[in-house]
């Protein structure tokens, strides 16, 4: 019985691994309704393409091809392409503004001209789509490009 309990716990831990992701995404629809998504998986690749995957892994929002410039120890990315992947389909999402701040250092970094601080190895972002949907969020990166 004890062995079964341990095996069950191990299986649940394996399934629950994404739940340890710390990303949070807040989506506000144009009608004002808001929903906050915890445990979002945040993956950054070497071309500054950031993938936000919902905790249930059903959908992923990807920002890629943006203009990324260093500002001190922070890297600021804007523009690029925004896409939404779900159920095997890929949707391009036109947007008005998209700004991402990456802190790939091991120390907390302040944003210039702002009281906002970005935690180590983390991202903070704000996107407004052409349809008026607002995505904001932050969290520790679950995957970073090799340095």
């Amino acid at each position: 019985m004890r062995l079964f309990g341990l095996m069950l716990a191990a299986c649940m831990l394996a399934v629950a691994a994404p739940a340890f992701a710390t990303g949070t995404v807040r989506i506000q629809q144009r009608d004002g309704s808001v929903k906050t998504y915890p445990s979002v998986i945040l993956k950054l690749d070497g071309s500054w393409s950031l993938a936000l995957t919902s905790a249930d892994k059903v959908s992923t929002v990807v920002l890629s091809g943006g203009n990324c410039t260093p500002a001190g120890d922070i890297v600021r990315c804007s523009g690029g392409r925004l896409s939404f992947h779900q159920d095997g389909r890929n949707h391009a999402v036109p947007f008005k503004t998209a700004t991402f701040y990456f802190n790939l250092t091991d120390r907390q970094q302040p944003l210039s001209s702002s009281a906002t601080k970005i935690a180590p190895n983390s991202v903070s972002f704000a996107v407004t789509t052409a349809k008026g949907t607002s995505l904001t969020g932050s969290g520790k990166l679950d995957q970073e490009p090799a340095r």
């Binding site: 739940a19 936000l52 959908s59 890929n90 052409a130």
Partner: protein, 261 residues
């Protein structure tokens, strides 16, 4: 049976994520377009290519299924499916509906992948495109801008020098120096049917040729389901490719960018 505290703790930890709805909700950004009127509503799904219109006065709903190429009208008691060869159908390539009470209408065209809605109250027509597979399309201010693959800076395609049209030429000379009415030395690209415009062969050294070449487009006689580029009263047609979808476009001269009309 006693439940281990460790198992209980793990189960509680994963409970919030398990209870979430499926994925992120962005219904306004990943569906097609919709228009609502007092007596009806129309919607187009740009992902599936299907369209539907509902009229509350007649109690009917008409749906168009792109895969089956059929339009189905749902009444309160009966259902009728119309095939291209049948009646009550708008044509082999489209489905449409008109609400006589509101004067609003919606039409779906499977060839262009567009749905057009008309709102009588505001006297506006809104066209919803299916550009999901085209990475160069950027939506801004109600229009789609198709980024030129060459990425020209302002007037960069003309060596940084402003290019000005010549009023006496067809299309201002954008497609080449065609003297109005004098077609000597130029080839006429005849339309495949009388309902489509006749245009002239684009001259290789012209700005229009640079435009077509930069998008990888090849000029063809005007007809259905083509890229139609309008400039200063002139029309050029080209075969669509992986960068440019069928449809009507105008030209942003300074960056040599085409804009969906």
């Amino acid at each position: 049976m006693r439940v281990s505290p460790a198992i209980l703790a793990v189960a509680i930890a994963i409970a919030p994520s398990a209870a979430l709805a499926r994925g992120f909700a962005m219904p306004n950004d990943v569906s097609g377009g919709a228009v609502n009127g007092r007596n009806g509503a129309g919607a187009y799904n740009r992902n599936t290519g299907n369209a539907a219109v509902y009229n509350k006065n007649t109690g009917t709903a008409t749906t168009y299924n792109r895969n089956a190429n059929t339009a189905t009208q749902y009444h309160s008691n009966t259902t009728s499916t119309y095939h291209p060869s049948g009646g009550g159908y708008n044509g082999p390539n489209s489905a449409g509906a008109y609400n006589r009470n509101t004067g609003n209408a919606a039409v779906y065209n499977k060839n262009t992948g567009t749905a057009t809605t008309y709102n009588r109250s505001t006297n506006t027509a809104t066209q919803y495109h299916n550009y999901s597979g085209y990475s160069n399309y950027r939506y801004s201010g109600g229009r789609y801008y198709v980024t030129n693959p060459r990425g020209y800076s302002t007037w960069g395609w003309h060596g940084g020098v402003v290019w000005a049209p010549t009023a006496t030429y067809w299309g201002g000379g954008f497609w080449g120096a065609f003297a109005a009415g004098a077609l000597v030395g130029t080839a006429i690209i005849r339309a495949s049917t009388p309902s489509y415009p006749t245009s002239y062969a684009v001259v290789q050294s012209s700005p229009g040729f640079t435009l077509l070449n930069s998008y990888g487009l090849r000029q063809v006689p005007c007809g259905p389901n083509l890229v139609v580029i309008n400039y200063s009263g002139s029309v050029i047609c080209a075969a669509p490719n992986g960068t440019v979808a069928p449809g009507n476009y105008s030209v942003n001269l300074s960056t040599l960018t085409i804009v969906s009309m």
